[in-house]
């Protein structure tokens, strides 16, 4: 029997002396984090260089270096392409990918459901509704043209979370994950119907709404990148802080409570941070599906289920995955540009089936 064989293998190499610290919960060394960062930066340079106008990577590096350190730039069109168009966009893409992937990994652990991500909880749908209302009815903040969409998306993301948690608490005081997932799915369906209704009444903006709901970071700015960075640092720090607790939740909410995790407090904090982060991402990049679902799965296959390793891997993996997906969206039908959400959904769906098939085979 295969299981017995595996047990014998386990027995052969796991003497008490080898137990010690290798499997002790822990994250990465500084060198490993540096390596991940280097890979992300290399991908960023590659994605900024590639496009309808090809720019050598060395030139891209030089332009960004000069811009960061305030050195004089060469008189070239590449400078404006890199600094005004591609760099802010790729930065936003990387930060959005990192944030969505981190939220997906956290939610999959918290809700102990491998299919969980922002859309499972209904937060993405809520944020989408807020943004669509802003676009459809032209709600803006003076001098800040993108702020209307952002504020409404974030507001609706929070409102969605409050509604979902309140309903879950009313039904089940322990805020069990099954109740939250069920209400999240029902809420998403409800919001989708409202979304259709709003679109029906706002046919003038149909094209921009449709493009936005498919996800796009076209025209993303440095201010967008700064908002994303702040949200990722603040909310991401809280999520990473609770990596051990997420391990406990992954094993079971009751088990987490029994070993001493303050489950309601931790769950509330994680849900609030994930929702805020998703709200910011949706407000800037629209609905970008599958990043929060597929990237954590891929990371889990490589680094294992321990969230102290999984969460940082998901951050870097999500950034790299979305930068490459955005590159495909930009160049595959050049000069036509595809919405990034379409590319992530196409790649993500196929990848997810492969991952699911492989994991089932391993278990069998």
């Amino acid at each position: 029997m295969p299981r017995n064989r595996i047990q014998k293998q386990g027995g052969a190499d796991a003497s008490p002396s080898t137990l010690s610290l290798a499997a002790k919960s822990g994250g990465y060394s500084a060198a490993q984090i540096a390596l991940f960062s280097l890979a992300a930066v290399a991908t960023l340079l590659f994605c900024v260089s590639a496009g309808s106008v090809g720019i050598p990577v060395s030139e891209t590096f030089a332009v960004i270096w000069n811009a960061v350190f305030g050195l004089p730039q060469p008189d070239s069109m590449a400078v404006s392409i890199i600094l005004s168009v591609r760099l802010p966009r790729v930065l936003c893409v990387a930060l959005t990918g990192a944030a969505l992937s981190l939220c997906g990994a956290a939610m999959q652990g918290l809700l102990r459901n491998p299919l969980a991500d922002g859309s499972t909880l209904g937060v993405s749908s809520g944020a989408s509704l807020g943004a669509v209302i802003a676009i459809a009815f032209g709600i803006t903040i003076p001098n800040l043209p993108f702020a209307g969409t952002m504020v409404l998306a974030m507001g609706f993301a929070f409102l969605s979370l409050v509604i979902i948690l309140s309903l879950a608490y009313k039904i089940d005081f322990s805020l069990s994950t099954n109740t939250i997932i069920l209400i999240g799915v029902i809420y998403s369906m409800f919001v989708s119907s409202i979304l259709s209704l709003v679109i029906t009444f706002a046919s003038d903006h149909l094209k921009s709404i449709t493009f936005w709901t498919m996800g796009s970071l076209l025209g993303a700015s440095y201010s967008n990148a700064l908002v994303l960075l702040i949200a990722l640092v603040v909310c991401g720090a809280v999520i990473l802080r609770y990596a051990r607790e997420l391990n406990a939740f992954s094993i079971g909410e009751d088990n987490a409570r029994h070993i001493g995790v303050p489950v309601r407090k931790v769950k509330f904090l994680l849900l609030v941070c994930a929702s805020a982060l998703i709200g910011v991402c949706v407000s800037i990049g629209g609905s970008i599906g599958f990043v929060g679902l597929v990237t954590p799965h891929m990371a889990r296959m490589i680094v294992g289920p321990d969230h102290q390793r999984l969460l940082p891997a998901s951050v870097f993996g999500g950034a790299v995955f979305l930068m490459l997906a955005d590159l495909v969206a930009r160049v595959i039908l050049n000069p036509l540009e595809l919405p990034i959400g379409v590319v992530t959904s196409l790649i993500g769906a196929v990848l997810f089936i492969v991952i699911f098939y492989r994991s089932r085979r391993v278990r069998a």
Partner: protein, 255 residues
């Protein structure tokens, strides 16, 4: 020394009273068996005591109201072993056992002290799970998985161990293993066990005290011999329990 005390414990779901003014206490070295027919409220009692269900009345561990405990303080006082475990991801046995030390070093950077390593190693050895330490829990049998979580509790080192039908889905070999392990754990001073058990033979063999329940109310409580009388058992189960047990046993003695 009283380790755990419940006074007038009452659990209601809406208009339905599941546990009705039940009281009991556990002294050092006690193994209290909660017995009774289905729906008697046994699992609800352990759920309430471990703060998993709302209740009225009072539960005290080491003289302190458990509602005033912080989560990690409660884990040092009460450890709970459930009857089933559904781990969704491929954690290793050792990482699950190590989580038992969470209460001693909560937070992002906890879980790396030498005493935690020692507690994990001892718990794995005690439960015979050392050879499986690096193995994914997804590849374990039901009995091995139960021993893994028992090792987690041993690493947690609570004063009172709460068991909710711990051998419900296990075969005879694993039933014996689990009960023997708990029995050995209880020999250390300053510990007590409370368990929900359906098998009256196991309850009689391992328990020191018993609380017999029916429809949320106490039928009888005291030492095992005081509670396991034909009159009390027959009243709680609404059948001739001792005759049934003797009939079952006679099959084996005749063989």
């Amino acid at each position: 020394m009283t380790l755990l005390e419940a006074k007038d414990l009452t659990v209601r779901y809406g208009a339905l009273t599941i546990v009705d003014h039940v009281s009991f206490s556990l002294e050092e070295g006690d193994w209290l068996m909660l017995v009774g027919p289905n729906g008697a409220g046994k699992s609800t009692i352990v759920n309430a005591v471990s703060q998993g269900a709302p209740y009225t009345g009072e539960v005290r561990c080491l003289g302190r109201d458990v509602k005033r405990f912080r989560a990690n303080e409660l884990a040092k006082c009460l450890g709970v072993l459930s009857q089933t475990h559904t781990v969704g991801y491929a954690f290793t046995v050792e990482s699950i056992v190590r989580l038992g030390r969470y209460a001693y070093s909560p937070g992002a950077f906890g879980g790396s002290r030498d005493e935690d390593d020692e507690a994990v190693r001892r718990a794995l050895e005690l439960t015979g799970m050392t050879p499986f330490a690096k193995q994914s829990v997804l590849t374990l049998s039901g009995g091995e998985l139960q021993r893994t979580f028992l090792a987690q509790i041993f690493a947690q080192n609570p004063r009172v161990l709460i068991l909710d039908e711990p051998t419900n889905h296990l075969d005879l070999v694993y039933q014996k293993q689990v009960f023997e392990l708990i029995s050995a754990w209880l020999k250390t001073p300053g510990r007590a066990v409370i368990s929900v058990v359906h098998d009256l033979s196991l309850a009689k063999a391992y328990g020191t005290h018993a609380l017999l329940l029916n429809q949320g109310k106490t039928v009888s409580s005291g030492t095992i011999d005081e509670v396991f009388t034909p009159q009390s058992l027959n009243a709680a189960y609404d059948m001739n329990v001792s005759e049934w047990m003797r009939t079952m046993l006679s099959q084996w003695t005749e063989a």
